[in-house]
Amino acid sequence: MSDHAAHVSAETVRGNGQGSGRRRGGGKGDRVMVPPAEFRSYYGRPIVKPPVWTHDVAAYLFTGGLAAGSALVAAGADLTGRPALRATGRVAALAAVGASGYLLVKDLGRPGRFLNMLRVAKPTSPMSMGTWILTAFGAAAGAAAVAEAAPYLPRRGALGLAARALPTAGRVGGLVAAGTAPALATYTAVLLADTAAPSWHEAYPRLPFVFAGSALASGGAAGLIGAPVAEAGPARTLAVAGAALELTATHGVEHRMGLLSEPYRTGKAGRLLRAARLLTAAGAVGALVGARSRAVSALAGVALLAGSAATRFGVFEAGRASAEDPKYTVLPQRERLAARGDA
């Protein structure tokens, strides 16, 4: 029997509500949050593969949302005559979309691998669709941001000609960017949901709203940081509305999906999402009470940006955790079978 001790038995494992099914239940640190459920597995090993994506992808979720929100703010400011808010939005959008491109290429290893994706357009692949959305948005946002340089160009000569053409080009670019912005902000939710990571897939009706809210909050936040209070009114409205949407939809993800909500409340993801809630709520309150103070508004903006980033990292971690523990794959599928009467 001596070799038996070296073997981990593959018999029934008891889920303990906080992590690896490899551990048997009943241990000391066993804080049960949901009724422990019996399930079986192959030595507690994951069934689906945890994502191979690094935190670059989580950061990409944030920068993409920030770019989208900022582009909407910029276009609105352009159309309603708010030059400082417009400039802020355009510069933030370009910087954020630039960061997105950088993160994507970094995750793939080299630029050629990004271009690889521009040789196909595949509707069944959210990543393929996203690549096109990002490319279209990036070009338009770039044009809009460059137009902000017009006042600094000489009035005469070839550059003068450019200076006179720029505002129109900027408006067109800004509007195209704003038109693609909602797609840029929400496709990433489909990107995560269209996987076998149980807690990402299950969240598909809710994640787009989490990300839409988070994008609006961060775009509004950029406006609060970069524009004087006299112009920042609509950015403030968007920041607060976005924060409300982000908080509500995230609450749904954390509580309305049964066992598959658990990874959003526990471990690293749980800590990140709790921090996100505090930051986002504080930012929203700050944005409301600080309507007359540039400093308070800017602080609120920083809190909202941090909250949005924490939300993205939290969602990212929750999906990974749900793939790592086989109970999140086995138990819901068992329930599904039982409901069909097949088990």
Partner: protein, 310 residues
């Protein structure tokens, strides 16, 4: 051509992918009731496909030191040790399989099964199963691949073209069985090709060829499905009621597997999902929800700016 069942439901995958006059769909039937755990399939696969080793790693669990299917393991033999006496009928089936194998076979250290000798004092039941890519009818890996690197062959199988793969890793997260994986050194995705190069020449895939007990059977999928149904019946008659098929049903969540199994316990015991569903089944609904969220965003922006013209 793409049709209403392109995402979900029974379908002929080669025709759906645009192949005209495709040959019959080919697949594997892996009958675990006669698997003796010799790992000939793992070895043959590695040799034929020149798959690098995974580094020698003692996992301290059972006879399995590979642990899972991965970029460098395209056939994986799972060993399950259960603290329950095996049924005599199931052991008879196995002993027959074992007896059919020459003791010289592949220089196996022993001609007996793990657990078959000394079993009386250990009271252990051993399950062994050679796992592989399922070559799903609705393959999530293929659906989500943004480069077109993963494609459907004329035999209905799913193959990666490594020269096109950009290593994005989307397929890894999409596979409901945890099969396909990214290789550390070249950053590309790899998995079983069902020996695309061999079957094109009319040869049998390396693993099936090497399997000494015919636990791995290769052939036309329709024919394999018939054979599997009959096999289950025989096993039930011989007193092995726990025998069941897995992945054989074209009406299941992935439209049926091109590589399916006969198991002797619940799928999750072997590390298989009990009720896999291709994630892209819900893709239209996902885009719909994203669309509503996108419109919400746009509307919020319009209201925020129009609500307060300066």
């Amino acid at each position: 051509m793409a049709g209403p069942n392109s995402f979900y439901g029974p379908i002929d995958p080669a025709a759906d992918a645009g192949w005209t006059e495709a040959p019959p769909r080919m697949g594997f039937f892996t009958d675990t009731s006669v698997c003796i755990g010799c790992k000939a399939c793992e070895v043959a696969c590695k040799e034929w496909n020149a798959v690098p080793d995974d580094g020698f790693d003692l996992l301290g669990m059972s006879y399995d030191n590979t642990g899972q299917l991965s970029a460098n393991t395209w056939r994986h033999v799972a060993f399950i040790e259960q603290a329950a006496p095996p049924s005599e009928a199931a052991m008879d089936v196995l002993r027959e399989a074992e007896a059919s194998v020459s003791t010289q076979f592949l220089g196996m250290p022993s001609s007996t099964l793990p657990g078959s000798s000394g079993r009386e004092d250990r009271d252990l039941r051993w399950l062994m199963m050679s796992n592989v890519c399922k070559h799903c009818t609705h393959a999530a890996c293929l659906d989500v691949c943004p480069t077109g690197s993963l494609f459907r062959t004329e035999y209905g199988t799913v193959v990666v073209q490594e020269d096109i793969c950009n290593g994005c890793g989307y397929c890894v997260s999409a596979c409901p069985y945890g099969v396909i994986d990214r290789r550390e050194d070249d950053g590309r995705a790899w998995k079983c090709t069902l020996c695309y190069d061999r079957i094109g020449e009319g040869m049998t895939p390396a693993c099936a060829q090497a399997c000494p007990t015919q636990s791995i059977q290769y052939g036309e999928l329709d024919e394999l499905r018939d054979r599997a149904d009959k096999r289950v019946e025989v096993l039930h008659q011989r007193g092995v009621p726990e025998a069941r098929l897995y992945g054989h049903d074209p009406a299941d969540g992935v439209g049926g597997d091109g590589a399916f199994f006969l198991l002797l316990d619940e799928p999750e015991v072997y590390g298989l999902p009990p009720d896999p569903v291709v994630t892209t089944r819900d893709l239209p609904a996902m885009w719909k929800h994203a669309g509503v969220a996108a419109l919400t965003m746009a509307a919020a922006a319009v209201v925020a700016f129009l609500g307060r013209r300066p």
